[in-house]
């Protein structure tokens, strides 16, 4: 099954082309959608949670994506890529940023720059990478590097839909940047629909990570 899911236009074009092939058409006949509803411990829908098929696919087509810095924030806050993808970090602010990561899946730093960073960063290992700015401590974003291209993010109502999955797909994982602990695994229990899932994540609060102001103002 080579159906690829992603939000990018290029991937969409690839899927349309794939469906025109005989194998693609047949595989589509067996495809199914899974709708996942993600809520927090109080039952409120969670936007921006990532849902993906728990698999270890090989030879994934790498993506070339960007995480920009604008108004001293990262955009987007959560990026999902297959292993081997490239991420560019353009700084669209008028102040310098210094992007870094200590995460085991990819440790790097891009010292002080404005505009385009010198080189994109390639993420060759699966895992979760948290990036920050060494100048502006409140800036934070996450990159989820997966061994699959079958993933989706939840919308404002907490719903993510994974489309055109093989009917045999049973295991999903769900994650959010403020999740306590590892990604949550989901498989349908006996009698439970395999096409709809409801998952509860226990999220931790987001703290500002900035020292209180002193008499001399703040360093920003």
């Amino acid at each position: 099954m080579k159906t690829i899911l992603s939000n990018s236009a290029s991937t969409l074009a690839f899927r349309l082309l794939w469906l025109t092939t005989p194998v693609g058409f047949l595989s589509c006949a067996w495809a199914a959608d899974i709708q996942v509803k993600v809520a927090d411990q109080r039952g409120r829908p969670i936007e921006g949670a990532v849902v993906w098929v728990d698999e270890s696919a090989k030879n994934l087509p790498p993506l070339d994506v960007e995480i920009s810095q604008k108004n001293r924030q990262f955009h987007p806050e959560v990026t999902v890529i297959p292993v081997g993808s490239k991420v560019r970090f353009p700084n669209r602010d008028s102040v310098q940023h210094h992007v870094y990561s200590f995460s085991p899946a990819k440790s790097f730093d891009i010292p002080l720059y404005i505009g385009e960073a010198a080189n994109p960063v390639i993420f060759g290992r699966p895992g979760i990478v948290t990036i920050g700015c060494n100048i502006h401590d409140w800036m934070s974003a996450s990159i989820l590097i997966l061994e699959t291209t079958k993933f989706a993010k939840t919308n404002a109502t907490g719903i993510a839909t994974l489309k055109d999955l093989p009917a045999s797909t049973r295991a999903l994982k769900i994650w959010h940047p403020r999740l306590r602990g590892d990604p949550v695994a989901w498989t349908p229990e006996q009698g439970e629909s395999a096409s709809q899932a409801a998952v509860t994540l226990t999220l931790r609060p987001a703290f500002p990570r900035t020292p209180p102001q002193d008499e001399g103002g703040t360093y920003r």
Binding site: S94, V95, Q96, H98, Y100, F102, D109, P111, L112, I114, G132, N134, I135, D137, P205, A206, F207, P208, R209, T210, P211, P212, Q213, D214, E215, G216, G217, T218, Y219, R220
Partner: protein, 271 residues
């Protein structure tokens, strides 16, 4: 200072305005050791800081700001003042990331116009300190500040050294608890109802003042002050916060002991 901020465009200046307004009550504005002499008062104040900051390299940051502050006293109007000046700061970060400790050095210099005759002057307060955000929810700050105040009248001249340690803990994402302790040693100015012949031996400088209505003697002496502070800050929006502070101070020296209880409610806006 403002010139410096705009003269360094290559250092990616980032403009910054902070404003604080507050109401404060002090149990012993006269710093009196004798209960009968002790007077309390309330104040309304405002402080504005406008400047810029940026980076000077991988590990260094700077800030420069013009600062203005003023207070009005409710009963003893002579205790009000207006102060304006500038602050220059430099920060060295030891390592990468938000948990890296920082060494900060600041130089604050202001001119003060005081409601009390002879109490206007120039304040110079360099400081050096370390800030460490130990975890996502908590951090520590240690700071040493020598301070000179060069007044029109020698009785208000002062020099002091202060060392403070403060810690903060975020109870909730928008609610921060701060606790601090400061030790200060240096000149203090106290007021007493005359006659106080005992002050002659202890005080280097004395004068008479009517700032509290009836004539009092104002005198300067060296003393040690311990202060303990607790504050709760509540963020209202991204740029607006409320703060409630309680501070207890005890000052001892040259045979003089006095206490002060201070309660302050403030609003902070930062852009």
């Amino acid at each position: 200072m403002v010139f410096l901020a705009f003269a360094l465009p290559t250092f990616a200046a980032s403009p910054e305005i902070d404003a604080n307004v507050w109401g404060r009550w002090e149990s012993n504005v006269s710093n009196s050791d004798v209960a009968a002499d002790r007077l309390s008062d309330g104040f309304f104040g405002m402080r504005v800081s406008a400047g810029s900051g940026g980076v000077l390299g991988r590990d260094w940051r700077w800030r420069a700001a013009a600062v203005g502050e003023g207070e009005l006293a409710i009963h003893f109007t002579g205790l009000g003042f207006l102060e304006g000046g500038a602050n220059l700061g430099l920060e060295r970060k030891f390592g990468l990331g938000w948990q890296a400790p920082r060494l900060q050095a600041d130089f604050l210099s202001t001119m003060r116009g005081d409601g009390q005759p002879g109490a206007s002057g120039v304040r110079i307060a360099p400081s050096v300190g370390v800030v460490w955000q130990g975890g996502e929810r908590w951090g520590l700050r240690v700071r040493y500040t020598p301070e000179w105040f060069l007044a029109q009248s020698t009785v208000f001249d002062s020099f002091s050294n202060a060392v403070g340690i403060a810690g903060w803990y975020d109870l909730f994402p928008s609610t921060r608890l701060k606790l601090g302790y400061t030790f200060r040693y240096g000149d203090v100015v106290s007021y007493a109802v005359p006659p106080r012949p005992d002050l002659v031996a202890n005080s280097e400088a004395r004068a008479f003042t009517n700032v509290f209505g009836a004539e009092r003697v104002v005198y300067r002496l060296e003393a040690a002050t311990h202060s303990i502070e607790a504050a709760v800050t509540q963020g209202i929006t991204e740029v607006l916060g409320l703060q409630a502070t309680y501070r207890w101070e005890i000052t001892e020296g040259q045979g003089l002991v006095y206490e002060n209880h201070i309660i302050e409610l403030g609003i902070h806006a930062g852009f």
